[in-house]
């Protein structure tokens, strides 16, 4: 793809991601929030793909937009909020407090990013391109797997221990309420954990 088209796609994806994440927090109905969160994940995965991280982009879609959001939706639908059930809109004080916290985090993050060593090193080399040049094999499964299982093996294994702990905890919670062992454990409880990788 030519750089012009890439920048156009990047612009569209960035705008969609920003607008939909704004809509996630401003919609009153949680179903709409969940829907826009899915749109946001999809837009972010487009950005990953533009950065030649195709595999990572699809993992973002598969795991977050595909699996985790289904579980979110499952829980929201189980509660099934209708417009009448939703709580009152929060007051001006709470809103301004939330806006202040968001502004603080935003300024901290942008300060940290703009003053990081990596950015300073890159900007000393000349203007930073919107989409950096990488080798073609950079985002393939092979490159991803080698990086994950050689360089970051310890972190990977530690994460799996964390997930295992989560599964055991959830199985324990799900089985505690049952007096007799005859009925099957609740599908929702099991589904919630095992796919949350």
């Amino acid at each position: 793809m030519s750089p012009g088209i890439e920048q156009l796609f990047f612009g569209i994806a960035a705008v969609v991601a920003t607008v939909s994440s704004l809509l996630v927090v401003t919609r009153r109905n949680p179903i709409y929030s969940a829907m826009f969160l899915i749109v946001m994940f999809a837009a972010v995965s487009v950005i990953f793909m533009l950065l030649d991280a195709t595999f990572l982009g699809f993992m973002q879609l598969l795991v977050y937009a595909g699996a985790i959001m289904v579980l979110y939706l499952f829980v929201i639908m189980l509660i099934n909020p209708r417009d009448g059930d939703l709580p009152e809109e929060s007051g001006v004080t709470e809103k301004s407090f939330a806006a202040g916290v968001a502004l603080l985090i935003f300024s901290l993050l942008s300060f940290a990013i703009s003053h990081s060593n990596e950015v300073e090193r890159l900007s000393s080399l000349g203007p930073i391109p919107l989409i950096p040049e990488v080798s073609a094999s950079h985002g393939t499964i092979r490159a991803f797997g080698l990086e994950l299982f050689q360089k970051h093996l310890l972190v990977f294994e530690l994460t799996s221990v964390l997930v295992l702990a989560g599964i055991i905890g959830a199985v324990h919670l799900a089985s505690r309420g049952r007096k007799d062992g005859s009925t099957a454990p609740s599908a929702a409880g099991k589904g919630l954990v095992n796919t949350d990788v």
Partner: protein, 347 residues
């Protein structure tokens, strides 16, 4: 091939052809379904409209198009309208990476399997949103069941695919097909169906669950839930749900053929390096024959087996299929390390 305009035109042409063919197969499939079901139940089936009832799908489409399009009171209008599209679009989109002939697919992706698996999983949102937006408790239950069922069987299906990817050492669908080619009739043993029988069985059953077909159509389940997620839908919106279900069935069958049944490769004809039109047509024909055989299997199963109970569905999903496919991955890994060709030792 050097001119980019030419390439774009070819890509658009391929997309349009595949879309049109998928759109045309659906009514044909509905007709076959009704005729085969009648045959299984010792009835006659639709045979009044046109020769042997072949125009029945057309009559059905006209009926659906002219039905009054109702939106139930209290329904969430936007999501209600969006839901059928969310079922139909992912199924069509996912089909684009399936190679239907020698290196012939709409979208060439080096990670075809993952693309297909990701996109086809999105159709669950159509069922869930449709069930929720209808403002009907049966629809909501159907949507809830659909989301729990899809997420459970997606895990089993993903794990069964992993075993295939381990032996194939690639995620390129064309390459997977090439590896399944073997000379002569004995070459059929190269199919992953025989190399990876456990994965094939788990995948097939998970495909039934993913496409909401009997014996796993718990999201519709007319005996308990009226029509499940599509209870409130009429006219063309209902038709879109319906078509989405059938296209998903075609897509899953296509993936099944590509991963386990040798894809487009013809076992008696060596894969040419520079295929002529005839070679491509032969491979497309062979793929189509397998596709219809598998679709017949879907229909046959539907009219033969009774529906599972919901707790049975979840129990076999989590307690049987997932452990079995995990064990299969372990076996495949051991066989791979020892250098065995899994299950059937071929020269």
């Amino acid at each position: 091939m050097t001119d980019p305009i030419y390439e774009i035109l070819i890509a658009i042409l391929k997309a349009v052809i595949i879309f049109a063919v998928l759109l045309q197969i659906v009514p044909l499939l509905v007709y076959f379904e009704r005729r085969i079901c009648a045959w299984i139940q010792d009835r006659i089936g639709p045979n009044r409209v046109g020769p042997v009832g072949l125009l029945q799908p057309l009559a059905d489409v006209i009926k659906l198009a002219f039905k009054e399009d109702l939106t139930p009171q209290g329904a969430d209008k936007w999501i209600y309208r969006l839901a059928p599209v969310l079922v139909y679009a992912p199924a069509v989109l996912a089909f684009t990476v399936i190679p239907v002939g020698i290196d012939l697919q709409v979208a060439t992706f080096d990670i075809g399997v993952i693309f297909l698996f990701t996109i086809s999983g999105f159709s669950v949102y159509g069922l869930a949103f449709g069930g929720w937006a209808s403002n009907n408790k049966y629809s909501l239950l159907g949507g809830l069941r659909a989301s729990a069922q899809m997420i459970s069987y997606e895990v089993a299906m993903g794990l069964s695919i992993i075993a295939i990817l381990m032996t194939a050492e690639t995620v390129d669908l064309n390459e997977i097909v090439r590896q399944q080619w073997g000379a002569g009739t004995l070459g059929l043993l190269e199919w992953n169906l025989f190399q990876q029988p456990i994965a094939a069985v788990v995948f097939m059953i998970a495909a039934f669950a993913e496409t909401n077909r009997l014996p796993f159509d718990l999201a519709e389940c007319e005996a308990e839930l009226i029509g499940g997620f599509h209870t409130e839908y009429t006219g063309l919106k209902f038709a879109t749900f319906f078509m989405g279900e059938y296209v998903a069935m075609i897509t899953m069958s296509g993936l099944m053929i590509t991963l386990f049944l040798g894809g487009w490769s013809v076992p008696w004809v060596e894969i040419p390096t520079d295929p002529s039109i005839f070679d491509v047509a032969l491979s497309v024909g062979f793929f189509t024959v397998k596709l219809f055989a598998l679709l017949f299997f879907y229909i046959w199963t539907r009219w033969t087996l009774p529906r599972f109970r919901y707790d049975q569905l979840m129990r076999i999903g989590w307690k049987v299929f997932i452990p079995v496919s995990l064990a299969n991955i372990g076996l495949t890994a051991i066989a791979g390390v020892l250098g065995w060709k899994w299950l059937i030792p071929l020269p």
